[in-house]
Amino acid sequence: MAIQEAKPTASQQSGRTILLGRNVGQTLLRQGSAFLGLMVLVAIATVLSPSFRNPINLLNVLLQVSMNAFVAMGMTFVIISGGIDLSVGSIVALTAEIMALLALAGMSWWLAAAIALAMGFALGALNGLVIHRLKVIPFIVTLATMQVYRGVALLVTNGNYLYNLPPGIEPLGQGHVFGVIPVPPLIVLGIAFVAWFILARTKLGRNVYAIGGNEEAARLAGINIGLNKIIIYAISGLFCAIAGVVQTSRLMSTYTGLGTGWELDAIAATVMGGTAFSGGEGGVIGTLIGAVILGVIRNILTLINANPFIQIIVIGLVVLFAVVIDKIRQRVSVQA
């Protein structure tokens, strides 16, 4: 994330690069260990199953992690700001369905998709507004809206599958560039760049870190906490809607159960990527690595024909392991 170009200055700013809160060494420590973990994992995977490094398989892994990557990048904004968003999966489902319904009703796909994105943004903004206005902790608010949004999703479709969608948007989810590279991972990269840019280079990004690091200090420095929180949760909602749109165009159908449990994968990817749960630290590059780690683990377990129920256990243990490593690392860096 956030590496600002180093310009050696006359004073002793040191030739090191300045980025949000750390120098390069510390950043490598933080996100580098996620990257290192990924490398080790890939090595293990290659040994365990020769078909792992088959390019088709690798591209397939990237395709599979794309949806989680969208959601997890939004989650990263929220967690850096010291919050949590449990309603992500429900926003994915609701926005996907709205888009599908509009398309079924004859609206142009692109307009329907735009409406879905706007709706994701609005649903997230609503989370932020409630959290700020009612001063209720994000966990509880988004736990409630997770139910509410899911309920609305059920209501609008009566719980039915939406399929036989009119053609037109499938290239977004099913297309390939140069005939081999699936489109969704490319969209992930584009969004990741935007997210990185916001966090590293904009005032909004700095506010996200400041609010997560110490909300009261940020407020006393003049930062509008309410507005920023609304935008942060809105970004999370928007990224969920992107996932909803891409997933629908990939399957060319949708259903009310879409996105169930996705909040857990998103949180796992974020935390494994080195974003601190305590707020104020982290970034989206780490989160992408975290999402890929999850994808690779699932892929290996599938390739070696592991019992699918064991997959769930393994994923849980890996997340726990990552958090413990993070704790140890924090203790070391505080002592240093």
Partner: protein, 497 residues
């Protein structure tokens, strides 16, 4: 000396990094007496009682109880010796009932089951002994008033065969009638042979309840006097009579136009009808005891807390301040009281912390890293902030350097009024002197400065004018010439003259 000491503390010494909190302190306590401990903030009262109650370990000294040396290494040691402390903040569990709190952690069980009947009966007995018949043992603690909660805490102390009861500012949140009630309770405790160490800086009440008064200052005992012989001026002189160690201000210009004018400013329940002015180039000190409303005033003026009513003028123009952002736009800045909790974002870099307010106000969408670096470099140099790089996480710097970064956050902007709330709290002497120098320079540069401090020498050295607060009101105002520690202290405790 008659050998009737229940407790004797001899040559107690305690160091904290950079501070000698207690220096060869002697203190004793007789059976059934109320021994009052007074002193300014930071005089060492709290450290002394924390050693006695096992919260801190002393570096040197002896503690005798019944003339036998005892060792108090942890809170449970103190409890075993019958020493019990009632803190300002009552350390009980609000959602539990009165009886559950009285027996907190020590419920007697038979075969794993609590004998509630017995617990309730004993609780009732204890409360009745304290004259608290009106408190139901089944009431939830959180539904009681502060005074009643305090009685529950005392009942809990009594149940544990307390011989020495330490009370730290017990009246700070009580009404006059509740104070009377508390004093009745203390008197009845005395007749039961309990000795009380009573910490307070409300001089008017310590003569009512105390038998002896010991004054502490700068970690030393200045003297012990019988309460009936003590006069308020004597005690005040003992409390504040130290040399002023601070360099006088180099630059004192004639103050200019009022840059901040506050008229009839109130916050319901906290501040009452406060009117004040700060002129361009003037340092106005705000003295008062803890709880006098100084921090509340600073925060309400700055828009950090809601509910302020009254008119605020900056440069003669009325301004409407409803948030810190409004305050900054109007030209106000606040260096808050608690650096760690309100001032710094510890996990972020020196640069980000320094540029937080400037960037929020002046950057549109993108961070201008060129400006970021330039201003940071300038401020690091100007305030001699000691950091290896601007990318260092702020929590890794010393307290003094952290505070300089908070100051620099405002100095890099064009503002008019600086509100400083205990700006040198917890900062070593060297950094303190540097900060004093900046305050001086800022005043010369035309800032109006409202400086809240609990250190009178600081107030006296830096201020052109001193305001004193007492119970949410301005109780006095002195010019630099007229201000003395004794006069300020008298106004701070609500005395006249």
């Amino acid at each position: 000396m008659p050998n009737d000491h229940l407790l004797a503390m001899r040559s107690i010494t305690k160091h904290f990094p950079g501070v000698r909190a207690l220096d060869q302190v002697d203190f004793d306590l007789r059976q059934g007496e109320v021994h009052v401990l007074v002193g300014e903030n930071g005089a060492g009262k709290s450290t002394l009682i924390k050693i006695l109650s096992g919260a801190y370990r002393m570096d040197a000294g002896t503690i005798l109880i019944d003339d036998k040396p005892v060792s108090i290494g942890k809170p449970s040691d103190a409890a075993d010796l019958g020493i019990f402390t009632i803190y300002q903040e009552i350390m009980l569990v609000p959602p539990l009932t009165v009886a559950e709190n009285i027996f907190l952690g020590e419920l007697q069980t038979r075969a794993g089951a609590v004998n509630w009947k017995e617990v309730h009966r004993q609780s009732r007995e204890l409360l009745d002994k304290l004259g608290a018949a009106q408190i139901s043992v089944n009431a939830r603690l959180k539904d009681l008033g502060v005074a009643q909660q305090q009685l529950v805490a005392i009942a809990r102390a009594l149940r544990r065969q307390t011989r020495i009861l330490i009370m730290d500012e017990p009246t700070s949140s009580l009404t006059p009638s509740e104070i009377g009630q508390l004093f009745d309770t203390i008197r009845s405790l005395k007749t039961h042979g309990v000795a009380v160490i009573y910490i307070s800086h409300r001089l008017e009440e310590i003569k009512q309840i105390g038998d002896r008064i010991t004054v502490m200052r700068d970690g030393r005992v200045i003297g012990t006097v019988p309460a009936r012989e003590a006069t308020t001026p004597t005690i005040i002189r003992m409390m504040v009579g130290r040399d002023v160690l601070v360099e006088p201000r180099a630059c004192r210009t004639q103050p200019g136009e009022p840059v901040l004018r506050v008229e009839h400013f109130s916050v319901p329940g906290q501040l009452h009808d406060i009117s004040l002015q700060v002129h361009r180039g003037e340092v106005v000190g705000v003295a008062g005891l803890i709880g006098a409303g100084r921090t509340e005033l600073a925060r309400a003026l700055y828009g950090a807390d809601q509910g302020g009513r009254g008119v605020i003028y900056v440069d003669g123009r009325p301004v409407r301040i409803r948030s810190p952002y409004d305050a900054i736009a109007a030209g106000l800045a606040l260096v808050p009281e608690d650096r760690k909790v309100q001032g710094i974002v510890g996990v972020l870099s020196v640069q980000v912390n320094l540029m937080l307010a400037y960037g929020n106000r002046h950057y549109r969408g993108l961070i201008d890293f060129e400006t970021d670096r330039r201003i940071t470099r300038e401020q690091i140099e100007k305030l001699s902030i000691r950091t290896p790089t601007a990318a260092k996480r702020l929590l890794e710097l010393s307290g003094g350097n952290q505070q300089k970064v908070v100051l620099a956050r405002w100095l890099c902007m064009t503002l008019k009024v600086l509100i400083l709330d205990e700006v040198t709290r917890g900062i070593d002497v060297g950094a303190k002197a540097e900060i004093y120098k900046f305050i001086d320079e800022l005043a010369c540069a035309g800032y109006g400065i409202l400086m809240i401090s609990s250190e009178l020498p600081e107030i006296l050295t830096l201020s052109d004018r001193v305001l004193v607060m007492h119970q949410g009101r301005l109780s006095g105002e002195f010019s630099r010439q007229d201000a003395t520690q004794e006069r300020i202290m008298l106004k701070a405790i609500g005395g006249d003259n």
